[in-house]
């Protein structure tokens, strides 16, 4: 361990430090708003470190300006790919922190714990996208998940506790399955680093009906099952609506955006770097999971009456769309369009979903219900939140000029390029089915409120407004001028694929 290692991990270290600082400050400061502001403003530090790591990046050779060959004896690695996710997590975190400022106050949540756990989970996420061996992957994953489980239960009422426990059990279950798969892979490759696994498995005689062959197969499948839970893909999706319904809404926002994104990063890294040289064709597996996830997610969303459950199924469907890009990546040897489409989709989805869920958290706090029917009359009570929700719902359908429109074209193009025409067709049909339930929400908001519910104007705090405006603007920006983010996503994808070659 030397100074350079610490510098390369400085974003992760600083955000963990910030988490501890937040909890400490909460103990001594009476004004709880200060705690939130420290958490928010403090994010400048990890962001600054991450930016300084990007500084000097040579795009043509895909070389970072810093020496990033190996961190802590091949425990972590640094590339544009991992930095891309660092920025995604930090951005989502900043929006969630700002966007939950009034929610935390109104719902009476413990402030220090809430923001501290959010930051801790984010530090786990940022470690996870850099983790280079099975042990650091596992630890980083637990560091990501356990704070989220605590956050799900933080409202300390029946529903919240229930969803916290459910989340904990599901995490434990998926971790156990994943560990079992890792054990197989380790046993057969004799290495814990991703590159070592890749080298070790290349000596496994495939196609000879040997026991190693089935061992590898079982290991891969178990890993996939474990990851499937984290991705919220079908058929490992059942916990999603239950947990979403019970957890505090800003936590759901973070969970559905950041946690999902890093899970995709993990899948891409594991299957590209670790299993990249393995002569296994897992396209069909991902394609089937993708098709089932989007179809099941969209169909089940139609009959939902609770908006958070609806978003639970919606997130399953979007996991399906993103998996289309994952399935597409393997076919074309040196092309990275599948990976870059996934990376772009994750940002587009993050911006749209954060807008929606922050608006929903505000509405839920005011209306006191997450039932879609109770949204009637919202357009009169809060034109701001209505417009925000309309923009995000339209984005989630995939209508231009929003990011997900471009992202969908991107993943479907990737699928078509890889010869997965049928998957693109399933995706297109699904996009139309999804319009049905998203539009229903819009329709209810514009209906007049005929019951005796509180009809006063909704006040939205300045910070929350800012968070919603920023994420909505990002959605529109990605839909009109996508080429910058797309270029960065391509660089990140190349840096991942280069590791393989």
């Amino acid at each position: 361990m030397n100074f350079n290692d610490i510098y390369l991990l400085s974003p992760q270290i600083s955000i963990a430090g910030l988490a501890i600082l937040t909890i400490l400050v909460d103990l001594v400061v009476a004004r709880k708003k200060a705690v939130m502001l420290i958490a928010l403003i403090g994010l400048i530090v990890p962001l600054g470190f991450a930016l300084s790591l990007v500084y000097g990046f040579d795009a043509s050779n895909d070389v970072l300006g810093v020496d990033s060959s190996s961190i802590l004896s091949s425990s972590f690695s640094l590339s544009i790919f991992s930095l891309y996710f660092n920025f995604l997590v930090l951005g989502a975190l900043a929006i969630v922190v700002a966007g939950s400022s009034s929610y935390v106050r109104d719902a009476g949540l413990p402030v220090g714990e809430y923001f501290g756990l959010l930051l801790l989970s984010a530090s786990g996420m940022m470690l996870l996208v850099s983790a280079e061996n099975l042990i650091t992957i596992y630890i980083a994953l637990e560091l990501t998940t356990l704070p989220l489980a605590a956050l799900s239960a933080i409202a300390m009422n029946g529903k919240s506790t229930e969803s916290g426990i459910k989340f904990l059990i599901v995490s434990a279950l998926s971790s156990a399955v994943m560990l079992y798969g890792m054990a197989f892979i380790y046993g057969l490759s004799g290495s814990i680093t991703l590159e070592g696994i890749s080298a070790g498995l290349s000596s496994v005689p495939l196609g000879t009906d040997s026991y190693q062959q089935y061992g590898v197969l079982l290991g891969v499948i178990l890993l996939l099952v474990g990851f499937g839970f984290k991705l919220s893909a079908a058929p490992f999706h059942m916990w999603v609506p239950d947990v979403y319904e019970g957890s505090p809404t800003p936590v759901v926002a973070f969970l559905s955006v950041a946690s999902k994104a890093v899970a995709f990063a993990l899948v891409l890294r594991f299957f590209y770097v670790g299993l990249g040289d393995l002569d296994l064709n897992w396209v069909l597996l991902f394609a089937v999971i993708s098709a089932v996830s989007m179809s099941l997610g969209n169909l089940l969303a139609i009959s939902q009456t609770n908006i958070k459950r609806l978003f639970g199924y919606s997130t399953i469907a979007h996991a399906g769309y993103i998996l289309t890009g994952v399935a597409a990546m393997s076919y074309v040897g040196d092309s990275s369009i599948g990976v870059s489409s996934v990376l772009f989709y994750l940002v587009a989805y993050a911006s749209a979903n954060l807008t929606a869920l922050l608006a929903i958290s505000q509405i839920g706090e005011f209306v006191g219900s997450d039932e879609i029917d109770s949204y009637a009359g919202l357009s009169k009570q809060s034109p701001f939140l209505t417009v925000a929700l309309v923009i995000s719902l339209i984005a989630l359908i995939g209508v231009p000029p929003t990011g997900i429109f471009i992202a969908k074209i991107y993943v479907f193009t990737a699928a078509v390029d890889s010869g997965l025409m049928w998957l693109a067709v399933v995706g297109v049909i699904n996009s139309v089915v999804s319009a049905y339930y998203y539009v229903r929400v819009i329709r209810v908001m514009f209906r007049s409120n005929d019951n005796s519910r509180n009809t006063a104007k909704i006040n939205t705090g300045v910070l929350v407004k800012l968070a919603i405006v920023v994420s909505a603007l990002v959605t529109v920006w990605l839909g009109t001028m996508p080429s910058w983010v797309m270029g960065v996503a391509e660089m990140a994808a190349v840096s991942l694929v280069n590791v393989v070659n």
Binding site: E162, V170, V283, L296, I302, V399, I406, F412, R440, R447
Partner: protein, 685 residues
């Protein structure tokens, strides 16, 4: 040659108006809401003038070719953004900006005092901009993006009075049904993505519209013949599905009449000149591709003709004057589609052009009538010709143009369509052309009939009470009509802001048909014979060797006789009955008996869609089965196993819905299924 930015500004001006109205006027100066209308009108006036200038340039024979700008590069496919300005674009630009401008002026009067005046003009600006975006797009993804935006903004406009649940439902229906058609369009685009490599091999871009034309053309004509066979069939059918959704072709027409829930000027704009015409425009835009697939052309011709006939019949039994117009629009769009299917490219676009004027006129007349009578229900109108002479004359002009009486605009364009159908038909053998020709002629008869009924019910006979009476009638039946009907009956001509657009459109309706396409003499005011059809054909590849048909007196006489018979029967029945009570059962049309029942239930198509397909099939069957799968099958497996529950369950008894155990079972089942897929797929090398 003119600057590219000048053409872009046609599109950018309404965009700017949208931004200024929604970000500056509405939040800050809502008290002076009328400013928003003026901003849009000024922007559209400039857009319109530029459009006319562009048309003049294109008509003078200058070929406007602009380099497209790269926007996105996705793998081997390149999406560019650019302008495609040919004769079709130039004419569409003039129609869209011109009609939109008149509608905006009319709206100043019609929407006066509406609390959401600013929002209305913001939506209108967004809609007009999106429609212009569709017209000028050079790339099919660019076109699709604006196509979707047209859908979104029309959703907002149809549901403008969203506090009325019928308006919200209609908006949603329009959005969903047009999206069902869009599945086909999107799949066609996906197919073009698939082709990007083979296009790229010869230096073409599979998403660039002029390149798609070249790819579809045969080698002999200098094309690339890349598209053909089944691929071409599915490509064209997919695009046509999208066009049929937007243009309300049978059986996707059901959203259009419901969309009349929007404010009347909205109907005039989106159901006369723009959104519904976008479908026809799309087929015309890719006509060189369609032309290569004779099967698709046949299907388009038949669907168009069936739509023309079926919708005209529905127009006969409607009581709401706007719904009569709506079915009339569907029917006229059928004429355009049928013409395209028969290869009559010029006449189809010519009819789109004239229809934009006379249908906008008729919609604005309906709005004017509503302004006075407080209702759209014709059963409660009658005798309005005395108090509203200008609207009366304008409606007569619009209706005569619609049915196709010489010399009104509609006559010239419809006559060309009928001539093309006549050429395609062969009365000795039963062919598709013959069926289409007969259906179109039958449609002409029905059009005359419903137009006569509409005019007599609205303007002749005696006044039957208007909105006041309708509300009191509804109250006695215990029905609440909601805000759609106003008790404010004020039998007088509409304000000047509404009358002026009527006058302008009336003038155009009388003159534009012959002036733009003279048929008998070499030139009129320097406009050469068959100008507009010849001009439109210029956009097509030369090898098609298209030319305008010479005026055929026989067809003109046949259609005129049919129209006169239709008008006479209508007038005879309705002038003779002179019923004074607003009771639909006294309406002579109800004597049609079972036919009337079928028609007034709209052939039960809505029932089929909503009750059987959506509710029974979709909700109960598909969604129900997936729900049941999630809950019961997996649950059943779990109960069967039974053992795990006790161990896991004890720790989880506090859970309200103890489904956590299910996750485990599903995970195990999922693992087994994944393994099975893997082994079965044979991907194990």
């Amino acid at each position: 040659m003119i600057s590219e930015w000048l053409v872009w500004s046609v599109f950018l001006l309404p965009v700017a108006a949208f931004i200024v109205i929604s970000l500056v006027v509405r939040p800050l100066f809502n008290r002076y809401a009328v400013v928003s209308g003026l901003i849009l009108i000024v922007c559209l006036t400039i857009s319109f003038l530029i459009s006319v200038y562009v048309l003049a340039i294109v008509a003078s024979g200058v070929n406007l070719v602009f380099e497209a700008h790269d926007w996105l590069i996705l793998g081997s496919a390149k999406i560019s953004i650019g302008l495609l300005v040919d004769s079709v674009t130039a004419i569409m630009l003039v129609v869209v900006t011109g009609v939109s401008l008149l509608v905006q002026i009319y709206s100043l009067g019609y929407m006066k005092g509406d609390p959401s005046f600013c929002r209305y003009y913001a939506y209108m600006a967004l809609f007009t901009a999106s429609m212009i975006g569709v017209v000028i797009a050079v790339n099919i993804v660019q076109l699709y993006a604006f196509w979707e935006l047209v859908g979104v903004s029309s959703y907002l406009l149809i549901g403008f009075w969203h506090e009325r649940s019928s308006a919200a439902a209609a908006a949603k229906k329009a959005f969903i049904i047009t999206r069902i058609g869009d599945v086909g369009f999107l799949l066609a685009i996906v197919y073009l993505f698939v082709q990007s490599d083979s296009f790229g091999a010869i230096g073409l871009n599979s998403l660039h519209i002029p390149d798609i034309w070249i790819a579809a053309q045969p080698l002999a004509a200098g094309g690339a013949a890349l598209l053909g066979g089944t691929g071409l069939l599915f490509l064209t059918l997919g695009i046509f599905a999208g066009a049929a959704g937007k243009s309300g072709q049978f059986p996707l027409h059901t959203w259009l009449p419901d969309a009349m829930e929007g404010p009347t000027p909205v109907s005039a704009l989106i159901h006369a000149a723009t959104m519904v015409a976008a479908g026809v425009f799309l087929v015309a835009r890719l006509y060189p591709v369609f032309e290569q697939s004779s099967d698709t052309m046949l299907i388009i011709a038949i669907i168009g003709a069936v739509t023309a006939f079926v919708a005209a019949a529905l127009g006969l039994v409607m009581n709401d004057i706007k719904r009569v117009m709506a079915y009339s629009t569907v029917s006229q769009l059928g004429y355009m589609m049928a013409a395209l299917g028969l290869g009559a490219f010029g006449p189809a676009m010519f009819h789109l052009f004239t229809h934009a004027f006379f249908k906008a006129l008729l919609f604005l007349c309906a709005g004017s009538v509503n302004h006075a009578a407080g209702t759209f229900n014709m059963q409660y109108m009658g005798g309005l010709r005395k108090s509203m002479p200008i609207t009366y004359v304008a409606t007569i002009i619009g209706a005569l143009s619609l049915v196709g009486i010489i010399p009104f605009a509609g006559f010239w364009s419809k006559d060309e369509i009928l001539m093309s159908a006549n050429v395609a038909s062969n009365l000795t053998v039963i062919s598709v052309g013959t069926i289409v020709f007969i259906l179109l002629l039958a449609g002409v008869f029905l059009t005359a009939l419903y137009s006569a009924r509409m005019i007599h019910l609205t303007f002749h006979g005696q006044f039957r009470g208007g909105g006041t009476r309708e509300i009191s009638d509804a109250e006695s039946r215990g029905v609440d009509l909601g805000p759609n009907v106003s008790s404010h009956v004020h039998l007088a001509e509409s304000p000047i802001l509404m009358v002026v657009p009527l006058l302008i459109l009336s003038f155009l309706t009388v003159t534009v048909g012959y002036i733009s396409n003279p048929q008998w003499v070499k030139s009129v005011f320097g406009i050469p014979k068959h100008w507009i059809t010849e001009f439109l054909i210029e956009s097509l590849p030369a090898y098609l060797n298209m030319h305008s048909l010479e005026f055929d007196p026989l067809v003109a006489v046949i259609s005129t006789v049919i129209v006169l018979i239709g008008l006479s029967i209508g007038s005879w029945v309705y002038l003779g009955s002179r019923y004074a009570s607003p009771n639909p059962s006294e309406d002579p049309i109800s004597r049609l008996g079972p036919l009337y029942v079928i028609l007034s239930n709209k052939y039960y198509i809505d029932y089929l869609y909503e009750n059987i397909i959506v509710r029974k099939l979709f909700y109960t069957a598909i969604v129900g089965i997936s729900d049941a799968f999630d809950k019961y099958i997996v649950d059943g497996v779990f109960n069967g196993l039974g053992i795990a529950s006790k161990k896991l369950g004890r720790a989880l008894t506090m859970l309200q819905t103890g489904q956590v155990q299910l996750y485990t079972i599903v995970a195990v089942a999922g693992t087994i299924i994944l393994l099975a897929i893997y082994l079965a797929s044979g991907s194990w090398n």
